[in-house]
Symmetry: D2
Subunit: 397 residues, 4 copies
């Protein structure tokens, strides 16, 4: 890459030399947030100056939905190129046979993780199941930047991890290093992190509206009731009877009532925000949809606080944010309207019961709830504008 102009990414002669096999990055965006402030724009410029080289990305556990979503997003990232994809059970297979929708992408074949060569990798997205992830990440080269999409490094308290996941934590020292990757809340820490524990989908949709309200002492700590609804992709690509089309279509149900493993992560985040030990009511529901998540959150306001106060607090918290949008008053967020995008839409409504409010937040569970936020984090960790590769508008209808 030879571009030298301030702030530009050239379509230069070097591109002509691109041929299948080199995987040099040739699809590139020059992006800028619609709501970018002056400081952010200046940041873009300095970033662009230094980013004339390509970042080589490994995707561990690339045969699942979050892995595929990483690949989809990176197809339009100006600097990140996938050079390694692992999938133990599909080792040796091409991307086209595992994910035919990515057949036009020039991606490496799957390899078993034990055969992975990390010498040509600068950063990894770890899309492996919880439990196995800790040891694998422990074994990775120390210079790698890592975003872990599993639950393995999300809980600060490793005893709590053991309680909810039924096995002792296998990398407690790494746990201390891991930064929780709720981007808009922990952005500055994430910038400096080497290992980011990417948040779960439910925790993302819940903490984004609640953290600012708790920090502002605007809502009571008691009786926070969260009724959450998720699309089926959150359950992954594993072949389970309960997730067959015939079992899911045209029906809904609650699941994991009081016992869903996202509970401790949610309570940890809300407790941190409120300097307390919060216990919440959290009931997830499975929806007949592939993607999408809504959290409907019922709260008591602190004495004297109004719904307008909540609205204003959220407005202040997310003003200028590209991906978190507080809708106009009375406008109801729909999951359809963020599908395929990294947006979180939210709003707050008065309840019939005096003193209470209803908060609605929607995300795409695979994007802002998983791979999109992971990319947002890695962009930050590597000093890029956080929206690179993420400027997809929602797909509707």
């Amino acid at each position: 890459m030879t571009s030298t102009t301030l702030g530009s990414v050239s379509v230069d002669i070097g591109l002509l030399g691109k041929y299948k096999g080199t995987r040099s990055k040739t699809n590139r965006y020059c992006v800028r947030s619609p709501s970018a402030s002056l400081s952010q724009a200046l940041e873009v410029i300095s970033v662009e100056e230094k980013s004339t080289e390509t970042i080589r990305i490994g995707v561990l556990g690339a045969s699942g939905y979050t892995g595929a979503e990483i690949a989809r997003l990176l197809a339009n990232h100006p600097h990140f190129t996938i050079t390694l994809m692992t999938a133990d059970r599909k080792a040796g297979q091409s991307i086209g046979s595992v994910f035919p929708h990515l057949i036009t992408q020039d991606l490496p074949d799957m390899v078993a993780i034990k055969d992975a060569d990390f010498s040509n990798v600068d950063a990894v997205f770890c899309c492996l199941p919880h439990g196995t992830t800790q040891e694998i990440i422990k074994g990775l080269p120390k210079e790698l930047k890592i975003v872990d999409l599993s639950a393995d490094f999300r809980l600060h308290n490793i005893e709590e991890y053991e309680e909810w996941y039924g096995q002792p934590h296998k990398a407690p020292e790494l746990q201390k290093e891991a930064i929780y990757g709720l981007t808009e809340i922990y952005r500055e820490k994430i910038r400096k992190a080497r290992l980011v524990a990417n948040p779960g989908c439910y925790p993302t949709s819940i903490q984004l509206p609640l953290v600012p309200l708790l920090k502002g002492n605007l809502i009571e700590l008691r009786n926070i009731i969260i009724d959450a609804k998720s699309g089926v992709s959150g359950a992954g690509r594993g072949a389970k009877e309960q997730n067959l089309y015939t079992e899911i279509s045209e029906g809904i149900h609650s699941y994991g009532i009081t016992r869903h493993r996202h509970v401790p992560e949610i309570e940890q985040g809300l407790s941190d925000a409120s300097n307390s030990n919060l216990i919440v009511s959290f009931t997830p529901h499975l929806m007949p949809m592939k993607r999408g998540m809504q959290s409907t959150i019922y709260v008591e306001m602190a004495p004297g606080v109004t719904v307008d106060d909540l609205y204003q607090q959220l407005s202040n918290a997310y003003e200028g944010e590209e991906f978190v949008k507080l809708l106009k008053k009375q406008v109801v967020p729909h999951t359809q309207h963020v599908s395929g995008s990294n947006y979180c839409f939210m709003n707050v409504f008065p309840d019939r019961i005096p003193g209470r409010a209803i908060i609605v937040s929607v995300i795409d569970n695979l994007v802002k709830g998983a791979s999109g936020q992971a990319l947002q984090n890695l962009n930050l960790m590597l000093g890029y504008p956080e929206n690179l590769g993420l400027q997809y508008q929602p797909l509707f209808p």
Copy 2:
């Protein structure tokens, strides 16, 4: 009909004379509830003695989904035969052109309601929109038994009706006569009623679990949070952009937050059960499914009350009921498992927050939430076993 044997419905010679056009009732069940008690069975017998004649049914507003559902259910009713179907905008059309799935049924063509001949009708299901219903019912012959599926006679307080529906009540004297048709709760009153106001779908799914708990003083009156989810058929067959397949599939959203018109009906029922003036939090959500409804209800238990107490109370309340089923402990109700049937499945779960419980109830909004309960009520009003025409098992998958 010539059958005279005690308790029998003969497949007699008279049947041979059936031909297209007579509409005599030839598809018949001899039914008995699986859980019928002795007294109910005896009732069956006496009923059968008197029911050798056919009841002639009118369906007003037969071009909507609840009207079609009445026709589907009556296809297997031993005594009820549809002799009148009205639909102003589809007057003159056959059932096959309005509802092709009923093409094999020998049903009368649609007529405009102003042209309806009630001289050959014994009872009507009124499936008209709210607002117009009051005057139409006021004008019906006084000897007709009526089940009204609209909201027009559900609210005792006509001022509340005016407040929520934006127009004064046009038949206040009939309002006094109307009996609220939540079958399992008001069965004895319904038996003697001439005009039944059939409950809304949300109120049915909510009151069935909450009324016994409130009557037993087992839950607090404050902070009852209801997060309800409905299939799209509840919105009717009107052509609206927002209900197009393209707008609904693969997405969810809240709607009518705090302002849904089922609120006063819900609060009325719960207030009656608790001798208080209850205000509840009620947030409905639109689901990408045709039928089905779930209410997830978050309650505080009264001091000293346990989840087992709630379970036992519901168990007592619905023991022996054919259509309301408390599932085994820990089993989660799914809307799929009641689809097409008149069942309500429910269960109660402990919440993480001490002292709170989570109640889940599911129904098919078009059956127990509308036409099925309407038929259950008319059976009662006419002295028949209430399950006649309702013994459909759920359609799954």
Copy 3:
């Protein structure tokens, strides 16, 4: 059962004695086809005379969708009661844990087939996978009536079976005895059969319209092009990645092009009807729907034959049939309009290419395409009216 009145099924005192565990048949219909002719009605009467006893039914392979569908249909059968359900992998489980939608039914627990006691069984529906079925049926008591829903006895030619199923036929002598159960075409043979090979779903939807046309020499034998579309339940309840909700919803695709195992069954039926060796083009497609099947069939008409001739031939063939309905001219069959029912709706249309016609037929793949037709056949085999337990109207919407 003590009813003795001619042609009647009494709701008699005997019913009062019913309690959980006896499994005596207490939900009963007295049914009659709307289009029943005099001779059929007389048959009803004689049937009723003899049918005062209950037929005890075994369902082998009861944990799959076709097994569950048998149970759903029999819930309203006046004479058939399930006394045995086998499911090797779910042995010991209750119906409620395997199929929660049937939880209200008083059904026996699953047992492994090796532990099945056939001494209290009069007839079986065999819902097992092909391949294993032959030996199991060979080992059943000889006095049992059997309807086999697998493919194991459908092909007359056991060499063809071996070719398509990759293993030699294990019960060739039973193959000779088996009667192919396409009810409307082979009704008289079915009446006398002990073992019926129930047709596949695609073959049912294709043969019903084509057999009469081929018998009448109205269409050419060459270039019969069948483009068929099926809901996912046809693939069964096995946990396969390709049938997950996430993989199926909102997308379609062809599968098994030229190699689907229903091909030899289709060609056998059409060859028999035309006294020839027919080869057809058959391409199935998987639809994002749980139930339902459409075959769109493109044919060349014989010289001088018109679309009206085809229509008239089908009209003659199915006049008076309860479950096969030729729609009015120009009316297009929809799969939605037969969902949950045993109907086949069909119609024939002129093509733009002169001399060609387009035939559309729709069924519910689990009912007329599997369990419904199986019940229709067992009714016949046991001398009952063939519509018993099958008078469900389609569930729409």
Copy 4:
């Protein structure tokens, strides 16, 4: 915009000045086709040289799905900026109220077409209904580049237009000028066009595979049977009962048999390719999905031609094409795998009937079948690389 460096698009200081209202283009890609050849890359450079100004785009009929899709795609186009959106019935409304999924985009409010100011528009996408389009386009400033997504200029023969659309053509002189926009087939003509008639979705999915085969004389002209399947968005956003979620979900049906208005367009394209007067059999089916289209095409091969010959011809025709992909032999295209993208995936299979072949092609009806191809065409018409704004990978699951 001030960037002047050869081949670069600068993230320059000018961007900092961006604020709501200027609508200068700030989200930009520097893109290059993965399969771009040397000549194409050189073209990119020259294009970039001249494209330092922004092209101002008008979207006429912006409240429909194709209009919204244009806006979604342009959100990531480096040079095109929407400055005008018309929608008569939604005049005065913001994009957020008409299409909430685009709420983050800085787009102009809707105006009535009669109030549109074309002085700040360089090119328009015309997404209006057929019939009204001709006169509107006739009245547009002559210097505008126009891509018309309606059917109004697709048929060369205006008598044929009148026959199928029931009204005389109102701009016959413009009809002569219009170029048919099937990009891969008519690319060179499109480059020079001022008015492009963008193809219909069915015609696109059908002509892409058939035109090369007909041009190569590899298939017979007789008996081309096309069984096509479409998602519901093809029917637009109009509020029609038949397109309600409740009417569409979980069911399929044929429609417009032999009479669909895409027939003359298909036959025109295939006739041109074969220098003949082709008549085809074309039967569309409505699928329960929002987007996606499959055409399953049954053809007779010319004497001596094999399926491998067809495969090779398609391989030659589309080698190096970015958006049209012939899959590996035996791999079946799925509509899911092109959803949201501009790809057409296709393949060819042997039929059971000797001498016949089966061709499958899939597209997203709103992208390659409408707005995506329209953008591809406008890129060409304005001298840009045709993939600008179109490099979205499919959204799966």
